[in-house]
Symmetry: C2
Subunit: 250 residues, 2 copies
DNA sequence: GGGTAGTCTTCCACTCAGCGGAAAGGATGG
DNA sequence: CCATCCTTTCCGCTGAGTGGAAGACTACCC
């Protein structure tokens, strides 16, 4: 870009993307220096680039000087065809499940060795939980994650097994225990978790298969509830119907 | 940026933003040359920049060579605090309205002299319509738009009145007729449209006011249905309850 | 009230990253 | 076969971009 660049080879574009990428789930509002640290760029550079991004509405600057993602990127993001067909097919069925259970409902796909939450529906009565749309969480400690893991290729399972990080005291960290669970999940067609990701939250999830190709699991849908004791069968019924419905649309 | 730039003063950043901004509701998939035309940049420049954007996942390139918005921007967009509090407060109530009516449900705010659709819920049975989340439509021909216009400052009303573009044969293009409608809307507390935006679609909408400040209209919610003949009262009841509920959360 | 540590902002001299016209390479279609 | 569209590559010129340094400001502590 210019004379005294510290790291030759870096382009303006890559710097801009680094700044945009500095915003994540846990960092929606950033000061200039936080932004610089997270993007790994000199403060002066970030200062100049953010000024332009704010001018172009890609970022917005709060009265207190902190930065947030702006309108331009919000609108661009809405145009992204991320799992577009899947989302569209699933939306009405997720409504149905939500209406029937009032639980938090998730639609997720596997992205390498992570669960990517594609859609979420939550209400007043729902359990407060971490996942939001766009979250990427480990596969081994969520309901949808376990379903996706159970139907993942062997190498992904191996990768996941090698990194069973503990999130709560109930998180499964033994590869043997998890392998046995995956077996059960494949056999029974559903997965459960008990406070393995968030204390006070249990989940139940089922796979989504296109009815044209019933062997490939393309997504998972699940619900999060305070406890599974009472109505496991009812939730399973609702999810199964929805999963079948979604599969038929694909 | 460099030697033989055609338009001096243009920065790399602004070019990147022009490329991102070239994607809109009606142009989600663009070829290289379309992108160049829409961003008003030389093809060679766009070619180079898109290569970097694709490398950084900001865009994705389809097998046929066309570009779409990529994962990075999708995720960044999700972090945008666009009407965040409003959306969060409204979501459960929109679910309720959807469940009760099975119609397409909208949450919208006014952005200058346009309606900006902030949230949408649609199902299988819903009327097919143009608006999606992020859409910006004229104020005078949609239900939520009329509500927002009726409670807008005088200068916005004047601006809107000066540009009553015709979309369907039923679109209101007479300022006098519209002014009388706005009066009625303010008096009755709701607005309707009949095929003024899309043929075969009617709508009914009500304003959302914070219960702490019942004179300021911060948003509008509405439903779209094939006809209002049958159940105007039922829809109005559902929307009123929801609007009151949302207002109480603000 | 002085010192330290953190912010954000402005300045500016150096220079290489970025520019884009031109030309070549494909694809399609009449 | 030429015409017209697309995409990709090439390359020499230069001003846009760079970031250290210095200044301004705030906040906290002793």
């Amino acid at each position: 870009m210019a004379g005294n660049t510290s790291t030759a080879g870096a382009t303006v574009t890559s710097r801009v993307l680094a700044i945009i990428g500095a915003f994540d789930e846990r960092h929606r509002v950033l000061t200039l220096s936080e932004l610089a640290r997270r993007a790994d760029l000199p403060v002066a550079t970030v200062h100049r680039l953010t000024a332009e991004l704010v001018a172009g509405q890609a970022l917005a600057r709060r009265p207190d000087g902190r930065f947030v993602v702006g309108r331009l990127l919000w609108e661009a993001g809405l145009r992204a065809p991320i799992e577009g067909r899947l989302k569209q097919a699933a939306e009405p069925f997720l409504h149905d499940v939500y209406a029937a259970t009032l639980a938090t409902v998730h639609l997720a796909v596997r992205d390498e060795a992570k669960v990517l939450y594609v859609e979420r529906m939550a209400g007043r009565a729902s359990v407060p939980i971490v996942s939001t749309v766009g979250s990427r969480l480990p596969l081994h400690c969520t309901g949808v994650g376990k379903v996706l893991l159970a139907h993942a290729p062997a190498d992904v399972i191996d990768t996941a097994m090698g990194d069973l990080i503990r999130i709560t005291p109930h998180t499964i960290t033994s590869a043997d225990v998890l392998r046995r669970q995956l077996e059960t999940i494949r056999r029974d067609g559903y997965a459960t978790t008990s406070e393995e990701m968030s204390p006070g939250a249990c989940s139940l999830a089922v796979p989504v298969m296109p009815s044209s190709d019933p062997d490939s699991v393309v997504a998972a849908i699940g619900v999060v509830v305070p406890t599974l004791k009472r109505d496991r069968q009812r939730l399973l019924a609702a999810l199964s119907v929805a999963a079948r419905g979604i599969g038929r649309q694909l």
